[in-house]
Symmetry: C2
């Protein structure tokens, strides 16, 4: 079998770095595209750099040339942050919506046989009307970020319908684990808590910390991303990817504090914007993915937290 | 009661002209904004011109100044055409999506108390899974145009939730009647057929013409648009606006041919793009609007066709 060529757009982000490492181990030929190439965490070794191309999905000419010849394209480029998107909807519109139209148009013209994997978000559901949330749950996105994720889902489905460009849409819950870059709170809340604990900062919990989240270890998410390559059953479909269990913010913080000696947490009132877009308890129903490809998370929650603490503790020193 | 100030963005389009005439008769102070001001059909009298401001919703500075002081804003600007949007998704993105973000941001900053009325489309439903289609029908938009309409619905709902900017969302079926400008087939199919019949062109019916549409006379739509001003029950809600009956393309054409002496129709195979985005029979369930404001269509179908034929026949001479 011919070795597959894989392109990871936005490959130097949290998900991208973990995916790159796994796909390389799988034996694929992997190319990363990133708009900024800096090396905060030692990921960019001399060897890795050979596989990195600097460029933006907002640059249509670049994209049309770059996209040629790849069998699988992970469209991870963009930026996270529901609160951010409300503060600057136009930036979110460009990066998280128009950028994906650029990817699809480039594929339509120059690589219509590629399979595209799009990481959507559990935020497209908005405040859950029931838990666990399955894929037919009503869609009431409550931030510009979530609205644009939903719009892009429709783009991918439409291009499949019109042009037979195959894609897989994953509604990801709250991933955590190695290789997230820190410096602001736009990142995964669990990783952010671990970072605070390790750097001696007090962890701030909004409200009572009773709201439940579905925290998924990045290795489990990467296994789903890998499966997309050789699972035609997934093409054109939408899947929840999560842990399948709800864990409260309070319980999460308690586990982190347990595994980071000397760390501590305080409770704090909700900031206004965050309170408004807080979605309440969220738990993924992940049975569709299990049914179609036999996937379920392999990493236990406390085990995942321990591994995460170890990684960031080591990468600090 | 203080006279309300009304702004019609895109007020020289088909819906805008009919709405302007009705609101003026109601005694409102009405201002029209249009990006192009030309007078193809005699609508722009000296008196009307005094109420027209030239400008684009894509010009944020213009919009932020223009939007101040109005009680009601009809956001009719944009362009129709599902097929067109597929041929040029970027143009649709700018005019039919970003333009509305501009309106909302301008209102957030400079006129947060305005009520905004947004004309969405029955196309957000995609191919109906059942008929008549009510407002909780699944949403599977099948063109860039329809995807963007749905995105903008979410924008309006979000800005109400975040900033209490009140809006009314109307999912309009297929309006027809006076004051549509011709010259291409981006316009309402019924009006387009009438235009062809009157100009001696053969009416082309795709397939067998059995597909049913929900044709709504513009005066009935205008009555709903007028009602938005003084119906707080409608704020923050989504309503179907339609005739509530499905009429086949074939039956429609037969009625037009009956009322335009010498006109004729032929059957033609479906063009590829149109066939792909053809949504099948569509009939609006309009009971929610009836329940909330007691509205139902007043103009019969044959009566509406006769009035439409009379208008365009007269405006040609």
């Amino acid at each position: 079998m011919k070795q597959k060529n894989v392109l990871i757009l936005g490959g130097l982000g949290f998900i991208g770095k973990n995916l790159y490492t796994a796909l390389l181990a799988d034996g694929y030929s992997v190319t990363i595209v990133a708009d900024r190439v800096d090396d905060a965490d030692g990921f960019l070794t001399h060897e890795v750099k050979k596989h990195v191309v600097q460029g933006s999905i907002l640059d249509r000419d670049f994209l049309e040339k770059q996209i040629v010849g790849f069998d699988i394209i992970y469209s991870l480029a963009g930026r996270s942050g529901a609160s951010d998107s409300i503060r600057d909807p136009y930036a979110d519109l460009d990066r998280n919506l128009k950028g994906h139209l650029n990817i699809l148009e480039a594929c339509r013209k120059h690589n219509p046989n590629a399979i595209i994997v799009f990481p959507s978000s559990r935020l497209v559901y908005g405040k859950p009307k029931y838990n666990p949330v399955n894929e037919v749950h009503p869609l009431t996105p409550e931030s510009i970020y979530a609205i644009h994720k939903l719009t892009v889902e429709h783009y991918y489905l439409l291009y499949q319908q019109l042009y037979n460009i195959k894609s897989v849409i994953l509604r990801i819950s709250n991933p955590y684990g190695p290789y997230q870059k820190f410096g602001s709170n736009h990142y995964g809340i669990l990783n952010w808590f671990v970072h605070k604990a390790l750097t001696g900062e007090v962890i701030e919990i909004y409200g009572e910390g009773e709201q439940k989240r579905d925290f998924l270890h990045i290795d489990d998410l990467v296994n789903v991303l890998r499966a997309c390559i050789h699972s035609p059953v997934m093409f054109g479909k939408i899947y929840n990817v999560g842990f399948g269990r709800g864990i409260s913010i309070r319980e999460t913080v308690e586990l982190i504090v347990k595994h980071v000696p000397g760390s501590r947490a305080v409770f704090k009132p909700w900031p206004e914007v965050d309170r408004k877009i807080e979605t309440g308890d969220y738990i993924s129903d992940i049975s569709k993915l299990d049914k179609d490809i036999g996937w379920s998370p392999a990493i236990g929650f406390e085990e995942g937290i321990q591994a995460t603490v170890r990684f960031y503790d080591k990468s600090r020193t």
